[in-house]
Structures are given as C-alpha cells and as structure tokens.
C-alpha cells in the first residue's frame, strides 16, 4: 500500500495591524470626507465579520460630487498644464507604492481574495497604472491620430468588486491624465480601498474635487449614469447592467465605455506543452476565485489529449489551497458575497441537471464565510447554461474538439468576446488561432496577464472600448474615438 504523503503547511498569516478601519465612512467630495445619511455594513466574506459601515449615496450626495468635479474641472484641472497634472499622478503612484501593504491587507479583508494576489497583482498593477498614465498627461497631442484631443469634462465611473483598487486605477488614472475630473463609485461590497485611495489623493495634495468618491449600491450607480452634469460614463461590470447603461445614455450626448462579461475559451491543442497548459488552465479559472470577467471558464480540449489533461488537472486542483485569504500560502480565497455564492450554486446546479458531470477538488471549506471548492464539469455541451452564462466563480466547463476549426467554432460560439487562451507549441497554429478568435485579448501559452501599456477590452457583447495603452487613453479624450 502506498503511504499517504502529507504535505502540511504551517499557517503564515499576514498581520492586519497595518490597517485601521473606521467604524463608519462617508463620501469623499471636493477633497473632504463628508458624512453620509444612510449606511450599510461591509463584511469580510471569509469570516462574515462586519468591518465597517459604508454610506449609501443618494441624489444630494451625487449632485454634490458632480458639482465638485465640475468646479474642479472648470477652475483648476482643465487650466493646469499636462506636465503639472502628470506630476500629481506620479505622486499618487508613489504613495500607493509606499502604502502598498496597507492596501493589500485592506483589499483582502474586504474582498476575500488571497493576500498573495492582492499583494503581488492588484496593488502593484494599480500603482503601475498611475505611473504609466502620469506620463501621458503632457503628451496628449500625440495620442490621437492627427486630431487635437480634449478632455470630456466630468467622468462618472462605476467599478466592480472583483479587483476593487485595480479597477479604480484603470478608471481614474487615464481619466485624470486626459484632463477629466471624476466621480467614482466603488462596488457595494468593496468600498474600503477606494476610501483609502481618497486619503492618498489628500496626501498627494490633488486639487479638491478632481477625484470624488461616493459609495453605494446600484441606485447610486443609476444616479451617476443619469446625471445631466456628467459627460462621460465608464463602467465595468455585467453585460446586463452594461446594456441598461447603454440604453439609459442613448438619448444623451454622454460618451460611454463598457467593460462587461466574458465566457473565455481556453483551447488546448494536442501539441501543447501539457504541464504548462495545466498550470495555465488553473491560473485561467481559479485566479481570484474565478471572479474575473476574462477568466478562462470554458476549457476546450483536443480529444487526443483530453484524458491526460483532465487527469493532470484534477491532480493539480487537489493541491489548490483553499481557505483563509490572509494566509500567505492560500491559493483560493472566499467568494466575495453570499449573493455571488448563490449565483454560483444556481448555475452549477443547472450544470448537474442538464447532464454535465461535476468534480470538485477535495478540500475542507471553513465553516463561516462564503466558499466554493474548485470545480470542473465534464461532458459539457454548447447548449448547457454552464457553457453559455458567466458563472464568475471557480467553476470550469470542459468541452472537447477534434479539428482546429471545430475548436475555433466552439470558442467563438458565444455573444461574448473578451478574451481567449491558446495552448500549442506550434507557432503557425498559435498565430492562426489568434487571428480566428473573436476576442479582444488573446493569451497564447499564458493566461490572465495584465499591464497598463497593454489595451484590454472586448468584442461583441463584452463591451465598448479599451482600457490601457494609447487605445484606452483615447476613451477619455474627445475627438479621437467616435462616440
């Protein structure tokens, strides 16, 4: 009998002493923290501990924020040279780097993602976004293609809960570099790092009103979208809400960018480096608990290697460490909210009832908090809900193919078009598949890589516009993109 090899890790918890969370927060408007009227709790999804009370912005709060942003735009920000604007962004980038540990701990407490990811991905990338865009501020005349670009004015920005600080950076950095002022609303369940960012703006002595942060739920978001004092809307979230926003702004002159859902295909060809592909599959779907719009949630395997890949994948999944997000060894943290957990359960139940076969990694889930074991479904057909709808959790749907063209056809058979993965050691096949896939980001022999210099965004119903690079910057400039 084979001896069972036990590989226990000693707990390596990150200290939370570096953050001080106030019992109650207000909004950040006109450079000052102002108190809110109504509040709602924000919790640590790993423990269900109430971390703080977050203000719910109503009409008066949003009005005040838009007014402050307009005033800052008219009196200060639009008059300042790009060179000086850029210096503020450089300052913000530096302060975020200085306070990176604090941001990482706070993000993990509020979001549930592993500290390893908030520390190594979210926070450094957020700072990098400010650093990158800072350098654009005095080069805008080179950003357009023969046009003279101008700022829109006041940008209203609504961001999701999966990468709270990073999505804030993706929104605020280009908006400010292009000369806009902003009113930003973080997601209902993850406001704390945005409020900490407000402190960074104060430390950077950013002129009052250039950045305004109002917290709240979808009702606050609707107030921003419909506010007549806002010139530009930027939203990251679900395709359903994206369509609502597109309809709401249709009769107005507002410019819109949308980063929406996805159902990315991750295609493994028989000539792939299988071990690397397995790592890529794991990274593609289990990074950030699968709460990633560009997650590789549909694994499309060539039949000749399907059994080998699935055996290795299950073996690898069994070694994923699920649990305390504050533990530095943790790979998979908590599901962000009860609501999201219920949605994942509903869709996986549909996977069972529609005839796919479920396999979950054996792991002990904590008693408190919101958890879902890493799971794959095999025998999935293109008609199954789990092959069509975004699950936004650690759940992978596996389909197979025989010919490369079949792989492409299956990959493209979705209204989404955000991202896709290709695994093959054959260069010409990689480039062919890259051309055929209808998606805005293609990861070939890698997955889930991001960089401020690299445009990110979707085809089809995955959204409008790009974020990152020169292309992303132009979304915040009038007279460059046609909107």
């Amino acid at each position: 009998m084979e001896e069972k090899l036990s590989f226990e890790y000693a707990p390596a918890p990150e200290s939370r002493a570096i953050v001080s969370i106030k019992p109650k927060y207000g909004h950040f408007i006109g450079g000052k923290f102002v108190s809110g009227n109504k509040h709602f709790p924000t919790i640590n999804p790993a423990t269900e501990e109430v971390l703080s009370q977050i203000a719910l912005a109503g009409k008066a709060d949003v009005d005040a924020a838009v007014k402050a942003a307009r005033k800052a735009y008219t009196t200060t920000w639009s008059k300042m040279s790009g060179k000086e604007r850029g210096k503020y962004l450089f300052r913000i980038a530096r302060i975020m780097q200085e306070r990176s540990r604090e941001f990482a701990v706070l993000e993990t407490l509020d979001n549930g993602k592993p500290i390893r990811e908030s520390r190594d991905v979210d926070v450094p990338l957020a700072a990098a976004h400010f650093f990158y865009h800072a350098g654009w501020a005095d080069k805008l005349e080179y950003a357009g293609l023969g046009t003279v670009p101008k700022a829109h004015g006041v940008a209203g920005q609504i961001i999701p809960w999966n990468f709270p600080l990073l999505m804030l950076a993706w929104k605020i950095a280009p908006a400010l570099a292009a000369g806009n002022t902003v009113v930003l609303k973080p997601a209902e369940t993850t406001s704390l790092t945005a409020l900490l960012f407000a402190e960074v703006c104060q430390q950077a002595e950013l002129p009052a009103g250039v950045v305004n942060i109002v917290t709240g739920d979808g009702s606050t978001g609707a107030l921003i979208v419909n506010h007549p004092g806002i010139d530009k809307i930027a939203f990251t979230g679900s395709t359903d809400v994206g369509k609502l926003i597109a309809r709401a702004v249709a009769p107005t002159k507002k410019s819109v960018t949308l980063e929406l859902g996805g159902k990315a295909a991750n295609i493994v060809f028989e000539d792939a480096a299988i071990d690397e592909a397995v790592e890529g599959i794991v990274n593609g779907i289990f990074f950030n608990q699968g709460h990633v719009c560009c997650a590789g949630s549909r694994l499309i395997l060539q039949e000749s290697v399907a059994d080998e890949v699935l055996d290795k994948l299950k073996n690898r999944m069994a070694k994923i460490r699920v649990g305390d997000p504050m533990d530095k060894n943790t790979d998979l943290g908590a599901i962000n909210s009860k609501e999201q957990l219920l949605k994942i359960r509903e869709l996986t139940a549909a996977g069972d009832s529609e005839g796919a076969e479920r396999w979950s990694a054996p792991c002990d889930l904590p008693g408190k908090g919101f958890w879902f074991a890493p799971t794959i479904f095999t025998g999935v057909t293109q008609a199954h809900r789990i092959a069509r709808e975004e699950i936004f959790g650690p759940v992978l749907s596996v389909l197979t193919f025989r010919t490369p063209q079949e792989a492409i056809d299956k990959a493209n058979n979705t209204p989404f078009g955000l991202s896709a993965g290709i695994w093959s050691e054959k260069g010409s096949k990689v480039l062919w598949a890259t051309q055929q896939l209808r998606a805005g980001v293609i990861w070939a022999n890698t997955f889930n890589k991001f960089d401020p210099t690299s445009p990110f965004g979707g085809y089809k119903e995955s959204g409008w516009g790009r974020e990152g690079g020169r292309h992303g910057l132009t979304a915040y400039l009038k007279g460059v993109s046609h909107e």
Binding site: A128, L145, T434, G440, V441, T453
Partner: protein
C-alpha cells in the same frame, strides 16, 4: 429632337452581387426638383435587409482574409470604374437634384478622389493604430486592428454620391462588409454605383445597397442581431436616441461622422491584444 424613345433603367437593389427587385414588390416615386417623375426605385423591406445581412455575413471572412494590398487594389479599381463613367453620374445628379453641371462634376470628382484616398489606407491603418506594448514582463505583446464584422450605414440625403462613398468605403477598408441605405430622395447615383461595384472585382456580398425609407429601415438595422455596427450619419439626430436604444440589445457600435479621416475607418475596427511568453 430625335424621335427615338429612350431605354430607361429599372432601378433595383444590390444584394450579394446581384440586382434583385425588392421581394416586397413595393416601389416609390423619385421626382426631380420641379416635380417631374424620374424613376420608381425599390422600397426595400425588412426581408431585403435580412437577405443583405446574410450575404454580408457570408462574404465577411473571405473579404477579411484578402490581403491589404489586394483590398487596396480593389478599392482603387472602384475609383477607376467610377472615373470611366463620370458623365453618367454627372447627368444623374443633375437630373435628380437640379444642381449646376459644375457642382455635379465636382461631386463626382470628389467621389473618385475619396475612393483613391481610402484605397491607400488598407495597408496603412494597422501601422497607425497597431502597437507593440512594452509590458513589464517576459512577454511579446502587441495590439492590432481587426475587422468588426457586418456593418450597416445610412447614407446622407445629400451629397448622394459622395455621401454614399463616405458611408461605404471606410467600413470595408479594414475587412468589414456593409449594407448601406442610399439617399431616399436621390437614390439614382447609389444604384448606378452598384453597377460600378459589380464591375470592380468586389466580391459578392461585400457591398450591399438598399433604397427605401430611413424611418422604416434604420430601426430594423438597429435591432438586427447579426449587424455589429451602424453608421447613422445620414439619419436625423432626432432619431438617434431610439436607434441607440434598439442597438443596445447586442451592444452594436453606433456612430456618426462629420468628415473623412482615419478615425472613421478605426471606428468599425476592433483592437485585439495578443500575449505570448518569451523564452528559450
């Protein structure tokens, strides 16, 4: 005056490289500025639009696959064909709109020159908006413009020829296929332009031309789930809101344009970013 009776042209639609009448059997009267009857062009139906979309979708991957050099030569060929039929276009513009000969000639000249200008963009647009992104890691990372798919356009009422060229050409430069609704009041240039297209080596289905009513066809275009983008420059701004609302169902890219510039080409291209590790 000679006693010869003219042979008049029947103005039909242009779908999938052929000239069908509308399946609906409907027509409408086109009159000149003085109210004299000129022609009975087709009043295109929803089914005609559907047929045009099917043709445009079927043609898209082939057109997209054609090399930029090849696309440029085909666009230049359209200019050659138009140049060779200048008198016909000048006459038709004068007949319908009543403008002076000089004005009509200028419009045709501008239309030919505009086609030549667009022809030169096919193999340059990606060097303008493509990028090699200097990411912080061992990855080769580039962004390239790519065709969006099937795009519909509402051409402006006037200028009926130049406006049509500006609606159609930037869309196909980057590999999209197009369904365009011609000027309602002055559709003659558009239907004669279809004859130019038909003799210019443009593959069937790449350019499809309908005549009819904007307020009928624009909402059908906006709600069609297999149209990826829509140019509504030729539509009254009062109608834009409703069209954008209908287009949100598949998040259609809907734009208006004021001029011919590279942005007009890029508006209907998607940008694709590709990552690959570097190693040995």
């Amino acid at each position: 005056m000679s006693n010869r009776i003219d042979v008049k042209k029947t103005y039909k639609l242009f779908i999938n490289g052929a000239f069908p009448r509308t399946e609906s059997g409907r027509t409408y009267e086109v009159k000149n500025a003085k109210g004299t009857f000129i022609a009975n062009p087709c009043l295109a139906s929803r089914k005609d639009l559907k047929d045009a979309v099917v043709a445009a979708r079927a043609a898209q991957s082939g057109w997209n696959k054609a090399s930029a050099y090849n696309k440029g030569q085909i666009l230049y060929r359209i200019a050659e064909m138009l140049e060779g039929r200048r008198p016909q276009f000048v006459d038709e513009i004068i007949t319908v709109t009543g403008v002076t000969k000089a004005k009509a000639e200028k419009e045709v000249t501008d239309a030919v020159d505009r086609l030549v200008w667009y022809a030169g963009w096919t193999d340059k647009i990606s060097s303008l908006s493509g990028a090699l992104n200097p990411v912080a890691g061992p990855y080769y990372n580039f962004t390239i413009p790519e065709s969006m798919g099937v795009i519909a356009a509402i051409a402006p009422e006037s200028p009926s020829l130049l406006g049509l060229i500006d609606a159609v050409t930037p869309i196909i430069v980057g590999g999209n296929t197009v369904i365009v609704l011609a000027s309602t009041k002055a559709p003659l240039s558009a239907m004669s332009f279809a004859e130019v297209v038909a003799t210019s080596d443009v593959p069937a289905g790449v350019i499809n031309i309908l005549t009819g009513k904007k307020d009928e066809i624009a909402p059908w275009m906006a709600s069609h789930m297999d149209i990826d983008g829509l140019d509504i420059s030729g539509l009254s701004s009062k109608a834009h809101g409703e069209i954008r609302i209908a287009g949100a169902e598949n998040l259609k890219r809907i734009y208006t344009f004021k001029s011919a510039d590279p942005g007009r080409i890029l508006a209907f291209l998607e940008h694709k970013t590709v990552w690959h590790p570097i190693g040995n």
